[in-house]
């Protein structure tokens, strides 16, 4: 006799979903490419060849098979620069994203759960912080501490921690009002214990979605700063720097502009979609 399921609520399986596969796939490719850049790239991203400038990419008239994505106006290999640029983009995304997430979420969690004076202090800090124009803030910061990878990461953290703090604070406040928090307290949990064991797991899906979003934003900010020449040294390959250079010769060599632009677009999109997909998949509250 076949078994009859009388209550299937526990059996609902959520599919991984196409967007999780696509976005995860692109980011995996990007990660592998960044890690193995020295092995994959056929040329040194910095070596110039003024006689071999503006070679078009594959399948176009005048293409050189040694340079599958062509070369820029200084004769540097676009593929090699893309790969090494991806490295910097990923490092910035990971380090800046995580640091922003940890700092912002911690402050938000404390403000939202403890309320009272910690909330007063943190909330006013957020208000004041958000009154500064962020890009100007970043430019000012880099002007003071000098350009470089560390300054970019620092600038992103300093600008964006409020994003996490605000959202996590609101979420922690909503969760803090739930009966299960009162029950935990009656069961003898300390305030800090309640915050970590009861509240944190419930804000985590939101934090993860925000984190991936923030990684995308970090990539964009890095590109913007490179675009205005405030990133690392102009010689080093970054996607923003490539876009900036490609812009000047877009009529003669469109590929120098288009390839980093496409990479940037796909990466930022993938990060945000990955976040949404993960939230759908792992948030037990969403159905």
């Amino acid at each position: 006799m076949a078994e009859v399921t009388t209550d299937a609520r526990g059996l609902v399986k959520r599919r991984l979903g196409l967007r999780l596969w696509l976005s995860g796939g692109w980011l995996l490719i990007l990660t592998l490419a960044a890690v193995f850049a020295p092995l994959l790239s056929p040329h040194d991203p910095l070596s110039q060849d003024l006689l071999g400038g503006r070679i078009p990419p594959m399948f176009f008239h005048g293409a050189d098979p040694a340079y599958p994505l062509g070369t820029d106006s200084l004769g540097r290999d676009v593929l090699a620069r893309l790969l090494y640029g991806g490295r910097i983009a990923l490092i910035v995304a990971l380090v800046a994203g995580l640091a922003t997430c940890v700092i912002g979420s911690t402050l938000g969690l404390i403000a939202g759960y403890f309320r009272g004076w910690p909330d007063m202090v943190i909330s006013r800090l957020i208000d004041i912080w958000m009154a500064f124009p962020p890009v100007l803030f970043a430019i000012l910061l880099i002007a003071v501490i000098g350009p470089g990878l560390t300054s970019i990461i620092l600038a992103i953290v300093v600008i964006d921690w409020t994003r996490f703090a605000r959202v996590v604070r609101a979420e922690a406040m909503a969760q803090g009002a739930m009966d299960y928090v009162a029950s935990a307290q009656v069961a003898g949990r300390t305030r800090v214990g309640t915050m970590l064991a009861e509240i944190l797991p419930n804000v985590l899906p939101t934090v993860i979605a925000l984190l991936t979003l923030e990684m995308g934003i970090a990539v964009i900010v890095e590109a913007i700063l490179s675009f205005v020449n405030l990133s690392i040294s102009t010689d080093d390959p970054t996607w923003g720097g490539m876009i900036s250079e490609g812009r000047t010769s877009v009529y003669q060599a469109w590929w120098v502009l288009v390839f980093p632009l496409v990479c940037l677009f796909l990466t930022v999109l993938s990060f945000s979609q990955l976040g949404e997909g993960l939230k759908d998949r792992f948030d037990p509250v969403l159905r």
Partner: protein
């Protein structure tokens, strides 16, 4: 009197911080070990507030001004907060009103039942899980192993309330505060849950403070009750005496206002205006009397 009540509240006064608006007005309450005491009153009368004051989960905007809350003879108000927390955790438990928000949505049911056994009684996981299985059996939930592994959203409201009852009895508390445990449930489920609470209470011999606005429920579950108005107890009585002849005019009006199953077509009786005025005047006189004494 040798039969000391397990829960003994004396002159408990609570007020809003800042404005000082009184919320509980010198509440006296005694619940003997193993007995069920009902706490009735309209919304905002302070029923739940008393429960929260005992458990130490008052909103931060409320402060206890004076009074003693004695559990088994020890005044909780005089204990340092860490000691108070472990004492309350070991001796009491809460059956909350809304089963939908009373379980942590991102944790499995199992640890939510065994938390207190592990954290306060220092049981090992395996023993606590055995106990949880046995409790789920006691609250008549089939397939306990599956339920222990489930997340709250996979279960119905009635199932969740049964789980909360199981969790409340898990550490064999001496006192359970049931804060309108059936209000959020469907009427047919309400009856089953009520019967279950009663059975569990009798089997475990736990004292209970039963907060409700339903006098019908009080008559079925409680041995004694207190009627609360504006944070002041207007009448405390044994259930038989109360339903035979309520002493206070407000209690009488409240009883008359309850809908009766025997007369489904009868119109609902509101509490008469003169009774409301009288009870308000009584509370006002109490406040003035206090002010004069200070």
């Amino acid at each position: 009197m040798t039969d000391r009540p397990f829960l003994d509240i004396e002159h408990l006064t609570a007020r809003l911080k800042g404005s000082g608006t009184p919320l509980l007005r010198s509440v006296d309450l005694a619940v003997p070990a193993g007995s069920v005491h009902g706490l009735v009153g309209e919304s905002g009368a302070g029923k739940s507030m008393i429960g929260k004051a005992i458990l130490g989960i008052l909103p931060r905007s409320v402060e206890v001004a004076t009074g003693a809350i004695r559990l088994d003879g020890t005044d909780l108000q005089s204990l340092p907060s860490a000691e108070r927390r472990t004492r309350v955790g070991a001796l009491t438990a809460l059956i909350p009103q809304d089963p939908l928000t009373a379980l942590n949505p991102s944790r499995r049911i199992g640890p939510q039942i065994t938390d207190r056994l592990v954290d306060i009684l220092r049981w090992d996981r395996a023993r606590a899980t055995d106990r949880a299985r046995q409790l789920l059996d006691e609250v008549q939930l089939p397939d306990p192993d599956r339920i222990l592994r489930s997340y709250p959203h996979e279960l119905s409201g009635g199932q969740r309330q049964r789980i909360l009852i199981a969790a409340a009895f898990a550490a064999e508390p001496r006192l359970i505060i049931a804060d309108e445990p059936t209000t959020a449930l469907d009427v047919t489920v309400q009856k089953q849950i009520l019967r279950l609470i009663r059975e569990m209470q009798e089997r475990h011999g736990t004292a209970m403070l039963f907060v409700t606005h339903d006098l019908g429920v009080v008559s079925k579950v409680c041995q004694s009750l207190s009627v609360l108005y504006a944070g002041k107890i207007v009448e405390s009585a044994r259930v038989e005496d109360f339903f035979r002849a309520p002493a206070h005019a407000y209690s009488r009006a409240l009883l008359a206002a309850s809908p009766r199953y025997t007369d489904p077509d009868g119109s609902l009786m509101p509490v008469p205006e003169e009774v409301m005025q009288a009870v308000r005047a009584e509370v006002a006189a109490f406040d003035e009397g206090r002010a004069a004494n200070v």
